[in-house]
C-alpha cells in the first residue's frame, strides 16, 4: 500500500510539473495517474441525510401553458425544493469531499458523459455531480423549446437553446464549482444544480437520504452536505485503511 501511495504521489507530482493544464488526454497517457478504477480500492464514507421539523410544501407547477409537457403527468407535478422520503429522509443533497484530498493528486475524468435530460419540462436529475473535464450531455426529450442557462462563477457561463426533441448539447467544465445553477427561462420552474469536482469523491442522496463516497485513501477529510433550501453542513471524518466510516447529516427544516 505504501509503495503504491508513494508512486501515486510521485507520479502526480511528475504530472503536475510536466503536463500542460487541462489536457486530460495527456493525463491519461501518463503511467502514474490515479485511474478511476484504483479509487475503488480505498475506504468508503457513507451515511444518511435527514431533516427535523415539518417539510415545507412543494408548490404545484401549473403546466397549462405547455400542453405537451402537461400531458406527460397524471397528477400535477410539484417543484422539487424539498424532496422528502420516509422518516424525513432528505433527497437531492450533494455530499462531497470539500478538502483533505492530498494536494497534487489528479484524477482522470471519465469519458462517459453525465446525462441531464429535459423531460416533461423538468430536469432529470435535479441535482447532479460531474468531474472537471467530464462531458455533460444535455438532452431534450420534450418537443418544445428549452434553453439551458448555466449560471457559473468559476466556469464560463453559457446559454444555449434546444428547440425540438432529440437535440443534444455537450459541455465540459474546466474548474471545480459548487454549485453551477442551471435554469430554463422558458419554463421558470425548471432548475437543476450541478456540482463540479476535481475528484470522484461526491454523491447525491436518493429518496432514502443515503449517500456513499468510495475509494478514499487514508486521511482526514472535510465532508460537506449541500441542499438547495436548507443550506450546507460540514463534518470532519478520518479514514484509515479500508474500514468504512459513517457520517450522517441532519438539517433543520425551514
Amino acid at each position: 500500500m505504501n509503495r503504491r501511495l508513494f508512486s501515486v504521489i510521485g507520479g502526480a507530482l511528475l504530472l503536475a510539473v510536466c503536463t500542460p493544464r487541462n489536457d486530460s488526454t495527456a493525463r491519461a497517457a501518463a503511467a502514474d495517474t490515479v485511474m478511476v478504477e484504483d479509487v475503488q480500492a480505498g475506504a468508503t464514507i457513507s451515511g444518511k441525510v435527514r431533516f427535523t421539523g415539518t417539510a415545507p410544501r412543494n408548490p404545484s407547477i401549473d403546466m397549462s401553458e405547455e400542453a405537451a409537457c402537461k400531458a406527460k403527468y397524471k397528477a400535477p407535478p410539484t417543484e422539487e425544493n424539498v424532496v422528502a422520503g420516509a422518516a424525513n429522509a432528505l433527497a437531492n443533497v450533494f455530499v462531497y469531499v470539500k478538502s483533505g484530498v492530498p494536494a497534487g493528486q489528479k484524477f482522470t475524468a471519465p469519458t462517459a458523459a453525465v446525462v441531464l435530460d429535459q423531460d416533461g419540462c423538468r430536469y432529470h436529475p435535479h441535482v447532479l455531480g460531474i468531474m472537471v473535464g467530464q462531458p455533460l450531455e444535455i438532452l431534450n426529450t420534450d418537443p418544445v423549446l428549452h434553453n439551458i442557462k448555466a449560471v457559473a462563477k468559476a466556469n464560463r457561463p453559457f446559454n444555449v437553446s434546444q428547440p425540438s426533441a432529440g437535440m443534444k448539447t455537450n459541455r465540459t467544465f474546466a474548474a471545480p464549482e459548487v454549485m453551477v445553477n442551471l435554469e430554463c427561462n422558458v419554463h421558470g420552474w425548471m432548475k437543476a444544480y450541478l456540482g463540479v469536482r476535481p475528484d470522484p469523491f461526491y454523491a447525491v442522496t436518493g429518496p432514502d437520504g443515503s449517500f456513499s463516497i468510495k475509494g478514499l485513501p487514508p486521511g482526514t477529510y472535510t465532508i460537506e452536505a449541500w441542499h438547495e433550501r436548507f443550506g450546507t453542513q460540514t463534518a470532519t471524518v478520518t479514514v484509515a485503511g479500508a474500514a468504512p466510516k459513517t457520517q450522517d447529516f441532519t438539517f433543520a427544516a425551514h
Binding site: 453559457f158 446559454n159 444555449v160 437553446s161 434546444q162 428547440p163 425540438s164 437535440m167 448539447t169
Partner: protein, 594 residues
C-alpha cells in the same frame, strides 16, 4: 452648330511618373477608383446580406426543417441543419446591419458621392484625396470586423440591428459574450469612415465647383448627396457615442443603459434613433437625387420644379432631425411626446409627396425612352410611393399601437429600402457604368433582371403588410407557436419561395455587371445623351478628369430646349453663341495632389 469647347481631358496624366499597381488601384487617392472600390466591396456585402436573408426565409417558410447546406454550419448555429433560435436572431441582426451599414449606405455615398461629385461639378478630385482613401479603408476594415462577429465564441450580435439595451449590454442575458462588442467596435470604425467621407463631399461641393456652376445649376444628384453628407457628419457621431457607451456597459462595468445601477434603458433608444432617423434619410436622399437625373434624361425634359425639388430635399433633411420618436411610440416614453412626434412625422410626408408629384410632372408630356436605368428609376417612384404611404399608418399613433414591431413595419422598410434605394441603384449602376469602366452593361439582360426582380420583389414584400395587419410580430423564430399566427404559415411559405426566386434573379445582375467589365459593348462619350459635365469626358474617365475645369453655361436639365436645335439635349458645358463666359470659380481648383 454649337462649338464644343472643353478642357483637354487626360493631359493631367503626363504630369507625374507612372504609378505602381498598388498606388493606382489599391491605395488610390483618385475619387473614381475609390468609388469603384466601394462598389465592389459593397456589392459583396449586399450579396452577404441577401444570403443571411435567405436563411431567415428558410426558417420562416419551413420552420424546424433542416436547411439545405445547413450541415456545414457549426453546432452553435444549427443542429442537424436546423437553424437554432440563437442563430436566427443573429441572422436578423446581421442582415439588417450589413444591408444598412455595409451595402446601401456605402453604395449610395461611398460609391456615388465619390464618383459623381468631382465629375458633376467640374473639378479634378475631392478636396482631400488622401482623407478619401482613408475613408474607404476604414469602411473596409469595419466590414471585416463585423464579419468577424460570426467567428467569435458564442457568435455574432443578436439584439436586432437596432441593438436595444439592456439586452445588448448584458451578455448574460443575450448569450453573446463577444459578438455585441464586435458590433460596437465595427460601428465606431465605420462611423469614422462616414464622417471623413462626408467632410470631403461637403468641402468639395462648397469650394470646388467649376466656373458657372452655381448652386442652382447643380444636378439634383449632387444636391442630394451634399445634403446627405451634412446629415451624415452630424448623425454618425451620435451613433459612435452611443456605441462607445454600450461598449463600456459591456466591458468595464458601467450601467448607462441598465437600471440595475441607475442607468436608463430608454436612453439607448433616444440616442440610437436620433442617429437612426437621419440615417434612413441618408439611405434615400442620394437615391432620389440620382433618380431625378435619370428620369429627366429618360423623359428628355427638364426636371419638373427643380427649385421645389431642392427645397424638398432640404425640408426632408431638416424635418428628419425631429421625428425620431416615432420609432418609440410604444416605448414607455411620455405620451405627450407621442403627440409631438406624430405631428412632425406626418409633416415629413409632404416634401416626399412633392418629389413624387414632380417626378410625375417630369414624365408628363415627355418623350420617354425606357432604357434599363429609366425602367428602374420609374419603378423607384412607384415602389417608394407605396413605402412612403405605408408610413402614414404608423405615423398615426393609435394605429401604430397595433402595427408597431409587426411585419407591417418590415414591409414598409423594405419598400423604401429595396423598392426605393435598391431600385435606384439598379438604375444608377448601369447608368454610370460606362463612365466607370468604358463599357455598357447589357440592355437585354438588364431588362430581364428588371422585370423578374420587380415581379418577385412585390410578391415577397407586399404580403408582409397582411401578415403585419394580423399582428405577426417581428424577429420571431417560429410564429406558429401562436394560435393566431398559425393560419398564416401558408403565406409565410409563399413569401419564402418568392424570396428564393428574387435572390436567384439577382445573379442576372451580378453576371451582367461582371461579364460586361470585359465583354460589354465599348462605350462612347455620352451614351445616354445626357447634359452632365461627366459626359464630356472619355469613357472611362481619365485620372484627374480635366486638365482645366470646364465652364458651365446652364442648368443640368436642358433637354428639348429650343436652343438645342435638332438635338433633344444641351450639355451644361456647351457654349452657345449667346452665352457669356462665367466669372472665375469661387476658389481656384487645386493642383491635383499625390
Amino acid at each position: 452648330m454649337t462649338s464644343v469647347a472643353h478642357a483637354k481631358p487626360g493631359a493631367h496624366d503626363a504630369h507625374h511618373a507612372p504609378m505602381s499597381f498598388w498606388r493606382k488601384y489599391i491605395f488610390s487617392t483618385d475619387h473614381k477608383i475609390i468609388g469603384i472600390q466601394f462598389l465592389f466591396v459593397s456589392l459583396f456585402f449586399l450579396l452577404l446580406g441577401g444570403l443571411l436573408a435567405m436563411q431567415i426565409r428558410w426558417q420562416l417558410g419551413f420552420p424546424g426543417k433542416p436547411m439545405p447546406g445547413g450541415g456545414i454550419l457549426p453546432e452553435a448555429m444549427t443542429s442537424g441543419g436546423v437553424i437554432l433560435p440563437e442563430y436566427y436572431i443573429q441572422l436578423v441582426t446581421m442582415h439588417g446591419t450589413f444591408m444598412v451599414f455595409f451595402a446601401i449606405m456605402p453604395l449610395l455615398m461611398g460609391v456615388y458621392a465619390n464618383f459623381l461629385i468631382p465629375l458633376k461639378i467640374g473639378t479634378h478630385d475631392m478636396a482631400f484625396p488622401r482623407l478619401n482613401m482613408w475613408s474607404f479603408w476604414l469602411a473596409f476594415t469595419a466590414g471585416l470586423i463585423m464579419v468577424a462577429g460570426f467567428f467569435v465564441p458564442d457568435g455574432a450580435a443578436r439584439a436586432g440591428w437596432t441593438m436595444y439595451a439592456p439586452l445588448s449590454a448584458r451578455p448574460d442575458l443575450s448569450g453573446a459574450t463577444y459578438g455585441q462588442l464586435v458590433w460596437c467596435v465595427s460601428i465606431v470604425v465605420l462611423g469614422l469612415s462616414s464622417v471623413l467621407g462626408s467632410v470631403n463631399y461637403i468641402t468639395t461641393v462648397i469650394n470646388h465647383r467649376a466656373p458657372g456652376m452655381t448652386w442652382f445649376r447643380m444636378p439634383l444628384s449632387v444636391w442630394a448627396i451634399f445634403i446627405t453628407a451634412i446629415l451624415a457628419v452630424l448623425a454618425l457621431p451620435v451613433l459612435q457615442g452611443a456605441a462607445i457607451l454600450l461598449l463600456f456597459d459591456q466591458t468595464i462595468g458601467t450601467h448607462f443603459f441598465d437600471p440595475i445601477a441607475g442607468g436608463q434603458a430608454l436612453l439607448w433608444q433616444h440616442l440610437f434613433w436620433f442617429f437612426g432617423h437621419p440615417e434612413v434619410y441618408i439611405l434615400i436622399l442620394p437615391a432620389m437625387g440620382m433618380v431625378s437625373d435619370i428620369i429627366a434624361n429618360g423623359s428628355r425634359k427638364p426636371i419638373f420644379g427643380y427649385h421645389s425639388m431642392v427645397f424638398a430635399i432640404v425640408g426632408i433633411a431638416f424635418l428628419g432631425w425631429i421625428v425620431w420618436g416615432h420609432h418609440m411610440f410604444m416605448s414607455g416614453m411620455n405620451p405627450t411626446l407621442g403627440s409631438t412626434f406624430m405631428v412632425s412625422t406626418l409633416l415629413i410626408s409632404v416634401p416626399s409627396a412633392i418629389k413624387v408629384f414632380n417626378w410625375l410632372g417630369t414624365m408628363w408630356r415627355g418623350n420617354l425612352k425606357f432604357t434599363v436605368p429609366m425602367l428602374n428609376a420609374v419603378a423607384f417612384v412607384s415602389m417608394f410611393t407605396i413605402g412612403g404611404l405605408s408610413g402614414v399608418f404608423m405615423a398615426a399613433t393609435p394605429v401604430d399601437m397595433h402595427i408597431h414591431d409587426t411585419y407591417f413595419i418590415v414591409a414598409h422598410l423594405h419598400y423604401v429600402l429595396f423598392g426605393g434605394s435598391l431600385f435606384a441603384l439598379f438604375a444608377a449602376i448601369p447608368y454610370w457604368y460606362p463612365k466607370m469602366f468604358g463599357r455598357m452593361m447589357s440592355e437585354a439582360i438588364g431588362k430581364w433582371h428588371f422585370w423578374l426582380t420587380f415581379i418577385t420583389y412585390n410578391l415577397v414584400f407586399f404580403p408582409m403588410h397582411i401578415l403585419g395587419m394580423n399582428g405577426e410580430m417581428r424577429r420571431l423564430y417560429d410564429p406558429s407557436q401562436y394560435e393566431f399566427l398559425k393560419p398564416q404559415q401558408g403565406l409565410r411559405e409563399f413569401i419564402t419561395i418568392a424570396a428564393f426566386s428574387l435572390f436567384a434573379v439577382q445573379f442576372l445582375f451580378l453576371f451582367n455587371f461582371l461579364w460586361s467589365l470585359k465583354r460589354g459593348k465599348k462605350a462612347e462619350l455620352n451614351p445616354w445623351q445626357d447634359n452632365g459635365l461627366e459626359w464630356s469626358l472619355p469613357s472611362p474617365a481619365p485620372h484627374g478628369n480635366w486638365d482645366r475645369p470646364p465652364n458651365v453655361y446652364r442648368g443640368p436639365y436642358e433637354f428639348s430646349a429650343p436652343e438645342a436645335g435638332n438635338a433633344d439635349f444641351l450639355p451644361q458645358h456647351v457654349k452657345l453663341p449667346t452665352d457669356r463666359d462665367p466669372a472665375a470659380a469661387t476658389a481656384p481648383a487645386p493642383a491635383p495632389a499625390h
